[in-house]
């Protein structure tokens, strides 16, 4: 594969900007800490011992590399391109989230921070954070919207079993963005001893960069695995995008490979003309949670509520690098509705014996749409970013089944 003369893999710039997106839009109180974090990350990047410890934990604790599975029955059913699934659902704790948490807790340790906080929506990032906090013996507080606490009781209990304190956030709409607000409020008052493990490629620089780097293990492995399986790079990558950490993790190692088409899948909820969570399709650039990016907002810049059946995609923003990749046209972003995702959730389960997370089901739905339009000689890698056990209650309710 030829490399583009100007690499797309060198972002962000030294000020944390991806084109016009990203940056460090935080209160003055936090700025010195953000700068510390960036300095510490630079020294960690240059330290072979840091990488060795990260790799060791990913291999022996997370269970990496995750398999690249040729989904033969799904491929035959669709009658087009060959579909491979990157099995992030097989990681410890059941999703890609743990990759990033391992990296960030190692940074926390380097920085001498003794307390861990995180925000969570459905609870997946909260569980992953509580898991690494347990492993490293650090006290951990998870901020979760009160509405999410009520509808995600199994994950709340998991976090508590892992020793985390779960704070039900009563402000705003009591969902993910309010949990992030509350985590930022707590952090600003406790910056001296507390590390904030942000769960996605958003927030102030350097978070979007470092989360991407930790998640890039997904794409790096997939690249090696597809070369082994097919002897060539894939024709297309597909991944679901909420904040977009699993997607950027898969995409980033392929950005300079011109022959690889890249598709990100946004949650279109009930439809783009109704309630949805598609920040690129239905939003505009703005500033929230420390970075400039596409946001769902009204004409006065007030943030509007997102909706998706998948709690992990239910956020009114998107990582700034995705906004940039969207604007330069390197990645195409497509919407998938709740209903389409539900149908794909069931289809993959029946055809492959893999229950995908509802987030991942959005990517499967896009693959179902695209694969039949491509020849049988084409190859698609779909990121199966998480397992769907956590979603069975939501799916049962949507299908009218009482458990």
């Amino acid at each position: 594969m030829t490399q583009l003369p100007n690499s797309l893999r060198t972002q962000p710039d030294e000020r944390g900007h991806f084109g016009q997106f990203g940056g460090r839009y935080v209160a003055e109180t936090l700025m010195p800490l953000i700068l510390d974090l960036e300095r510490e990350y630079r020294t960690a990047q240059a330290d072979p011992a840091f990488k060795a410890e990260f790799d060791y934990l990913l291999k022996h604790y997370v269970g990496r590399p995750s398999p690249l599975w040729f989904a033969e029955r799904l491929t035959n059913d669709l009658g087009g391109a060959k579909i491979y699934l990157k099995r992030e659902d097989l990681n410890h704790t059941g999703a890609h989230k743990i990759n990033n948490c391992i990296g960030q807790i190692l940074l926390a340790k380097r920085m001498g921070k003794t307390k861990i906080i995180a925000e969570t929506g459905a609870g997946q990032h909260g569980v992953a954070t509580a898991t690494v906090a347990a492993l490293f013996g650090l006290p951990c507080t998870i901020f979760m919207g009160a509405v999410d606490v009520a509808r995600q009781q199994p994950n709340v209990f998991r976090m508590k079993l892992l020793g985390a304190e779960v704070v039900a956030v009563e402000s705003g709409a009591k969902t993910l963005k309010d949990a992030m607000n509350e985590a930022l409020r707590h952090w600003v008052a406790n910056v001296h001893d507390t590390f904030y493990i942000i769960g996605t490629v958003a927030g102030p620089h350097p978070y979007p960069e470092l989360v991407r780097d930790f998640q890039s293990v997904i794409g790096n492995e997939a690249r090696e695995q597809i070369l082994q399986a097919e002897g060539r790079l894939p024709d297309m990558l597909i991944a679901p995008v909420g904040g977009g950490s699993n997607a950027i993790g898969l995409f980033h190692p392929f950005l300079d490979d011109e022959g690889v088409e890249i598709v990100g899948v946004e949650a279109a909820g009930e439809g783009l003309d109704k309630r949805h969570a598609a920040s690129l399709a239905g939003g505009r650039p703005g500033i929230l949670h420390g970075n400039k990016t596409y946001l769902l907002q009204d004409e006065d810049g007030q943030i509007t509520e997102a909706h998706s059946i998948s709690a992990g995609l239910d956020y009114p923003g998107i990582g700034p690098e995705h906004s940039w990749l969207h604007e330069i046209g390197r990645v195409r972003y497509e919407p998938v509705t709740d209903d389409e995702a539900l149908a794909s959730f069931q289809k993959l389960t029946k055809l492959e014996g893999i229950i995908p997370a509802l987030e991942s089901a959005h990517a499967i739905a896009a693959a179902e749409r695209i694969a039949p339009t491509l020849g049988k000689d084409k190859v698609i890698i779909v990121n199966c970013s998480g397992r769907g056990d956590k979603d069975i209650f939501t799916v049962a309710e949507a299908l009218g089944v009482t458990l």
Partner: protein, 263 residues
């Protein structure tokens, strides 16, 4: 002389009073602040996601937005205030997204038109100054910067570069309306800041009583009080103005007399 210069140039500390626009009867409350003796007014622009604010101001933002307060409403409130009170400095305080959503030039021009003297934007540190600073300075509107306990000597010159109006010292690493900093730490910080700038230094976050305000007024050029006013408005709703005025007077008396007592 600018309105800020005269408000801070009376030989005594100034009371800087904050309320959230559109929460309660804002025009009446603003008049009550002035009648009670406030020297500088900060009018909060409501935002859905007030990340630096404690529970009191969060709730005020939500009450205001529930009444569908728009940015146009805020500028109308500001312009009307300027008409009634030609000499009292008026600051808009809020978050980056509502200020920049129509472009910073639009926002700066609206501020100038409405007679707004200065802007405090919580989530634009000097590193992202290009987002708002040049437009405001071009329109003759002061950009009021925040310094905090974490602003070290290396950062301070950059914080002050491009700053106008006054310097707002956030005395605690935290959110609005909760704990107050120790008096000794405030005194050290104000001395450090005043050595670095000719701008007046106003101190805020966690100041709720006349006694606290008087202590700070002995060393600072101004004392910022916000959440305590918000609590009064939350309690009394549209009939809060007399209560706001009485509380303002108690603070103003304490602040304005503090330096004489100290001397």
């Amino acid at each position: 002389m600018t309105r800020f210069a005269s408000a801070f140039g009376k030989g005594r500390a100034a009371l800087v009073a904050f309320i959230t626009g559109g929460d309660g009867d804002t025009a009446a409350n603003l008049d009550a602040l002035v009648a009670g003796g406030a020297d500088v007014i900060e009018l909060g622009m409501p935002f859905t996601d007030p990340m630096a604010d404690g529970p009191a101001i969060q709730a005020a933002n939500l009450r205001s937005l529930a009444k569908r307060t728009s940015t146009a409403d805020l500028f109308a409130i500001a312009a009307a205030f300027r008409g009634r009170h030609p000499d009292v400095p008026l600051v808009l305080m809020g978050y980056a997204n509502p200020m920049t959503v129509r472009g910073s030039d639009w926002f700066a021009a609206e501020c100038a038109k409405a007679g707004v003297d200065g802007i405090i934007c919580v989530d634009i540190p000097f590193e992202e100054d290009a987002e708002l600073g040049p437009a405001l300075r071009g329109a003759g509107v002061d950009l009021i910067r925040l310094a905090t306990p974490t602003t070290d000597a290396a950062r301070l010159p950059d914080v002050l570069n491009g700053a106008g109006g006054f310097l707002y010292y956030v005395s605690v690493a935290g959110i609005t309306g909760l704990q107050q900093a120790a008096q000794a730490s405030i005194e050290d910080a104000v001395a450090r800041l005043k050595a670095a700038t000719d701008l007046p230094v106003a101190v805020g976050f966690g100041v709720r009583t006349p006694q606290q305000a008087a202590d700070i007024a002995k060393v600072a050029d101004g004392v910022v009080v916000g959440s305590a006013f918000i609590d009064i408005i939350a309690q009394h709703g549209d009939a809060a103005a007399p209560h706001v005025e009485a509380f303002t007077r108690s603070l103003a008396d304490a602040i304005h007399g503090a330096k004489e007592i100290a001397a």
